[in-house]
Symmetry: C2
Subunit: 433 residues, 2 copies
């Protein structure tokens, strides 16, 4: 299983028993609180504040073993996992829970990923932060004209919660936080373009909230363009199809938040179990979250294909808790729990600094009240009191001081080849071809 929202819930609950050996395998040594990742990408929070060490979380649970590695093969007959850790290892299991989450989907255009930045991991967030800030530096050193304007243009593809929240934050960062810090350019003139093929932003929310979020984004200075689908991406911009026909948008910073697909582990399982994968490469599971024909194999979180269940953190948490309960019951010889049912507790999205929209069981909230709910919910789910306090104090600080504490441009994250010449030149060079 993985160390995301679903996997951690399963390991926590089974670890509490103490009488079963639990092995948690993840590529990263941290749990990632993905709903706040965009704040790392825009310099508000530090990495550690949203990414507690998995070992720290399971310190007291002796029966939970953590393996920093990656699963590359499954043998469902022998009930053995092949993983690459320090060395390749074989890990036997009685019950297997797969919760490897999702990765960005470029709609069959994987080559776009070299220019349209993904936003799934901490490394991604680091890179986006460095690129957002470095683009301003490039603009400052570029004479006025089309080239400078392209450095001052940020194109975000996909207006779901991540795209909306990121667009709001980039707007705040460029238009307000760093406004007086450049001499040649005016960062307030930066264009933040938020595109989506759907009819409006936050397509999964109620139309009232869509309109409200749209209006709040425009007030923040975001150029919102629903009904535009991307047909091309390169180092200097994107091509879009919209109501006015095909158009070129010159932008040197392109961020992808348009869609996700199941982690590649789904294909490994699909091959091993002879399954046909569902939409976005997700694994079809029964109402008990197990794989057809393999009651000992659970698939939970973004990897599972379940009608009516969105790829959001609360859904992953509920699936993780369900799988843990089901395994618990089996171990104790109790009857299996009732089929899994997703309880929609509502969805939230923040716009800028103190506004949000909330869609809670038919109740449509917006403005500061929605923001207060958003803040409370996110703090509640953050792991560790230290991170909660630290996060609150950062938020208060940036309200008061109009600054951001994490503004380091990490040169090694700018270009994929860290051996390359460690200067802004390498960004220019990497993007030139």
């Amino acid at each position: 299983m993985g160390g995301g929202f679903a996997g951690v819930r399963v390991a926590r609950r089974l670890g509490r028993r103490g009488d079963v050996q639990v092995t948690l395998i993840d590529r990263a040594n941290h749990h990632l609180f993905q709903p706040l990742l965009y704040q790392v990408a825009t310099g508000e929070l530090s990495e550690g504040q949203i990414a507690p060490a998995l070992r720290g979380m399971f310190r007291g649970q002796e029966s939970v073993r953590l393996v920093l590695g990656e699963v590359d093969a499954l043998d469902l007959e022998r009930r053995v996992i092949h993983a690459r850790a320090a060395d390749p290892v074989e890990i036997p299991y009685d019950t297997l829970v797969l919760a490897a989450g999702s990765v960005d989907s470029y709609f069959g255009h994987d080559e776009w990923s070299q220019w349209a930045l993904a936003m799934k991991t901490l490394d991604d967030a680091d890179r986006i932060r460095s690129r957002i800030l470095a683009a301003l530096e490039m603009a400052e050193e570029t004479p006025p004209g089309a080239e400078r304007d392209a450095w001052l243009t940020y194109a975000l593809v996909g207006a779901g919660p991540t795209g909306v929240e990121l667009a709001g934050q980039i707007s705040l960062l460029t238009h307000r936080v760093v406004r007086d810090e450049y001499r040649a350019i005016d960062p307030a003139s930066a264009r933040i373009i938020l595109l989506d093929a759907a009819g409006d932003v936050l397509p999964a929310m109620h139309p009232t909230l869509q309109r409200r979020a749209h209006r709040d984004l425009v007030k923040l200075g975001v150029d919102v363009r629903p009904g535009h689908s991307v047909v091309g991406v390169d180092s200097h911009g994107i091509d879009v199809d919209g109501p006015e026909g095909r158009m070129r948008i010159a932008a040197r910073t392109i961020i992808w938040s348009a869609g996700v697909q199941a982690a590649p582990l789904a294909h490994v399982l699909g091959d091993a179990a002879g399954l046909t994968l569902g939409k976005g490469g997700r694994v079809p599971v029964g109402p008990d979250l197990t794989v057809p024909g393999h009651p000992e194999v659970f698939v939970v979180g973004d990897m599972a294909d379940l009608q009516g269940v969105p790829g959001l953190a609360p859904a992953a948490i509920q699936q993780g808790v369900y799988a843990a309960k089901a395994i618990d019951a089996r171990l104790d010889g109790r009857p299996a729990p009732k089929p899994f049912r997703y309880v929609d507790k509502g969805t939230l999205a923040v716009i800028g600094r103190e506004r949000a929209v909330a869609d809670i069981k038919g109740l449509h909230l917006s403005g500061p009240l929605a923001f207060a709910i958003w803040a409370a919910v996110h703090l509640f789910y953050l792991v560790g009191w230290g991170n909660r306090l630290g996060t609150i104090s950062r938020w208060l600080w940036s309200l008061l001081a109009r600054n951001r504490q994490e503004r380091v441009i990490s040169v090694s994250s700018l270009v994929s080849d860290a051996e390359a010449d460690a200067s802004l030149e390498s960004l220019e060079a990497a993007q030139r071809d």
Copy 2:
């Protein structure tokens, strides 16, 4: 000039005049509070807390222009700097202040740098943190024996303040913070070996404090070995010459804090001005901190070769302030200030969490009182109230909670080629040859 302690002081003061154009050139977009870098390397503080954005620091000083780039040539005749920024640029000057600081010196064995980790920049600190934590993960997955022991051995070369502080923190991190978090290994058995060719630790301090620091380090579980000089470094350990003859220490994590030399810019200046560089490639300067024959060129901070002036932050600050005053006086037609004199306000080093040694004008303090002075001085010099408050709360938190907030292993920082397979395997592979 650079954005370190000296360069920032010069720019700040001249920027306050408003009637002269000041250009600050740095490779990084942040000022780095180097005395606390070791806390980033050991997961205590976040990057942003010790590295405020230079643009934020100079927000209100319209006459200060920042260029994110690197100086690669000087034309002293035409008074022009050649720098590589977004594109190569030429920057003319009337007065030039060089303050590019220092880089690690491997005593003529530059090839050692691939295994002995440097500790000068934020990227370095990131890499050291990731390597310290990844070594524990490797040990956990390695069967008992010599190979596991080598992963559990940290060798630090150089027992100046950086080496001493880092050794204390690595000891706290492995022996206390993560002690109960592993199942196969006991992190409390990790060996932290601190080597120095000198007769004892902190060679620049008074012998009483050396002995005290030595004793405190041993109490913390550090294996202190003065009188040992390194004669070889490779991927699996180091060879040392000591009182017992030549010895091999098997260690998979090797950190270099043995010596520094002036930044390569010193050579550029040396060639341009026809100067012979001093010890450690430093630039010989007159008592007014200018280059002989070039009264318009100042060299300050770690790059300057001045008898009796150590390569410490307070010395750099004093030189920066002096150069700014001298330039100020010239611009106003006032007489030049008296020759530069370094005022030794004392030196400090922290050992572990609440102990320190302080050598203040002949007063030798140690224990908690020295720690209190250390904390007060460092907080005073940290830039920005947000960073001060954040740092205090992190320190209090780790006293109370036995945890560290920044424990992310950044895979891209583990290996120089980020394209390499993003897993622990790549660390193993990179180190295997």
